[in-house]
């Protein structure tokens, strides 16, 4: 029972982590919570679904298609909706509200154009389970978990080991000065959004396969946002740890306390957590020197 709960928690947490990465990436450069990320995830899932079911592209290609498509959408999103604000040096809060507008807009666009039907990916792995010390784990979960962690790790290396990574962190503090150092902000922001979008697409497909595809599926990304905060906004390893912690915590609460008050419980814990660790687990709380 304990092991099964842990496995379930891990696989839920893995998905949270994957979604949280997108939030953290954007936060790491623009210091705002990109609430449109959930919508990009949703659109990624739709792209993947239509590629596999209407265009019969097969899973690997649909998978890549969803990632590319979501990355492009994220790029369009930033170019059309955020760039004007960024160029005007609007405070992050404004970007956050714009992001909410974008997400309301896109989500309802989907309602109007595609409709509110739920779609489900064709079964890639037939319903079957892998036994693991007497507990069951589905092959899909295993695949998603491993794949996500590899992808996140690669991204982490990119951000910490390259000049680009430093530039992203620098720009998050002061874009004007970053451009004085020769950083092309538009390009940099574009790259960040493409990466975030790609991860969104990845998360979207996994979510779609695991659950289903429908216009409001982006809402569960609230949980991912919470995960990102627990881990420390702007920190990738933090996002992963936050996702896993939240997933496992929630599962344990459901099993050992009550599934109905699970959210109250998790949310209270999150608040408690933040009160104790105000910057999340790995976030840097930069006390301004006076």
């Amino acid at each position: 029972m304990f092991l099964q709960t842990l496995i379930t928690g891990l696989s839920i947490g893995g998905i949270y982590a994957l979604m949280a990465v997108g939030y953290s990436l954007v936060f790491s450069i623009l210091n705002f919570s990109n609430f449109a990320h959930g919508t990009i995830i949703m659109l990624g899932a739709y792209i993947g679904y239509f590629l596999i079911s209407s265009f019969k592209l097969g899973f690997p290609f649909s998978f890549i298609g969803a990632i590319v498509g979501a990355a492009l959408l994220a790029l369009i999103n930033v170019r059309l909706a955020y760039s004007p604000l960024i160029n005007r040096k609007a405070p992050p809060l404004y970007l956050m509200i714009t992001a909410m507008g974008v997400s309301i807009f896109l989500e309802n666009m989907v309602y109007v154009t595609v409709g509110s039907h739920f779609y489900s990916f064709p079964e890639i792995f037939k319903q079957s389970t892998i036994k693991f010390f007497g507990s069951d784990i589905s092959p899909l979960d295993l695949f998603a978990l491993i794949f996500s962690f590899i992808a996140i790790f690669a991204l982490h290396l990119f951000l910490t080991r390259t000049k680009m990574g430093t530039a992203i962190r620098a720009a998050s503090y002061d874009m004007t000065v970053a451009s004085l150092n020769g950083v092309n902000m538009n390009k940099l922001i574009g790259i960040v959004f493409i990466l975030a979008g790609a991860f969104g697409g990845l998360a979207g497909v996994f979510l779609g396969v695991k659950y289903m595809v429908y216009p409001t599926m982006g809402w569960i990304t609230n949980k991912a946002y919470i995960a990102a905060v627990i881990g420390g906004l702007g920190s990738l390893p933090g996002a992963v740890i936050g996702g896993v912690i939240l997933g496992v915590l929630e599962t344990f609460v459901s099993v050992y306390v009550s599934s109905v008050i699970r959210d109250v419980f998790s949310f209270s814990l999150v608040i408690l957590f933040l009160v104790i660790l105000p910057a999340g687990l790995l976030g840097k709380y930069l006390e301004e020197k006076v």
Partner: protein, 294 residues
């Protein structure tokens, strides 16, 4: 006509909530994603009192305000004490809002997720009008007093404010309590306008709408958020025939406001007689122009 009165009533009610929130978000600079919870608490408290206990409407409304104000300590005390930074505070309020909703879904007095139907219709247009005028007026008084200036000082530079002897925690707490009370009042009015409430009405979507109105209206303006929330409610109603498209339009409008009015509809200004005069007064306009120094 009655229908239009209805829409106006809703606008009036939401103005109360928005103006309250603008004290907290616009003037004190903290971001809340859980303000719907305060509306919910006010709504349930007032509705339960009139529905089960036949408490007079006005008393029930006051009780709703009081309850919201009290509950705001639960979230405010630990988080504001810990001086959580913007986004982290927002996430705490998001969690708080959800938690309140789950609790309402699981209490028996609230009749769970089903909600409370059959609440009396006490909230008429004149009632709304009177309350919203009073609240706007009081909020304006608040903002223009030392309490308001302290709030803005904390928003602008918390460290400097502290070094000026301003107790940051108290200032933030006062704003939170005030905005929670406004939310509670709005909730109570809403319950007695719609005659029906259920937890699902008070989701983070509603919180988002309130916050969007404050930001889109202009952080640091009262009239701006009032215009914005009226717009947000009226536009979908006008577009109701166009159905799903109205939400598309709402999202688009929100984005366009943010793009074309980067500091909100009113920015840091107020729409008032004085500001009309300012239009003709070059100097005054110059003084407030310009952003951050490089």
């Amino acid at each position: 006509m009655e229908y239009i009165y209805g829409v106006i009533s809703v606008i009036g009610i939401e103005i109360i909530a928005t103006v309250g929130l603008s004290v907290f978000t616009g003037f004190t600079g903290l971001f809340s994603l859980g303000h719907a919870a305060f509306m919910a608490i006010g709504a349930y408290t007032a509705a339960i009192l009139t529905y089960f206990y036949n408490v007079p409407f006005i008393l029930a409304l006051l009780a709703g305000m009081l309850m919201s104000a009290l509950v705001s300590f639960v979230i405010g005390f630990p988080t504001l004490r810990a001086k959580l930074r913007g986004d982290y505070f927002a996430i705490a309020t998001l969690g708080f809002g959800e938690a309140i909703r789950v609790i309402l879904e699981n209490l028996s007095i609230t009749q769970g997720a089903r909600g409370l139907p059959g609440i009396s219709h006490f909230t008429t247009l004149p009632v709304v009008a009177i309350f919203s005028v009073i609240v706007v007026w009081m909020t304006r008084n608040f903002i223009l007093s030392k309490f308001g200036r302290n709030a803005i000082a904390v928003r602008e530079d918390a460290v400097a404010a502290e070094m000026a002897g301003i107790d940051i925690f108290r200032v933030r707490m006062l704003s939170l309590v005030y905005s929670a009370a406004c939310g509670g009042l709005a909730g109570g009015l809403f319950a007695h306008y719609l005659n029906f409430i259920q937890p699902a009405m008070f989701t983070s979507i509603l919180s988002t709408q309130l916050t969007s109105a404050v930001v889109a209206g202009g952080m640091g303006s009262l009239t701006g958020p009032i215009i914005a929330i009226s717009f947000f409610i009226a536009v979908p109603e006008v577009l109701r025939v166009a159905n799903m498209w109205r939400l598309v339009a709402y999202g688009l409008i929100l984005v366009l406001i943010m793009i074309y009015r980067p500091s909100g509809i009113m920015g840091y200004h107020e729409l008032s007689f004085a500001s009309f005069k300012n239009l003709f007064n070059r100097k005054a306009a110059n003084q407030s122009a310009g952003g951050r120094r490089m």
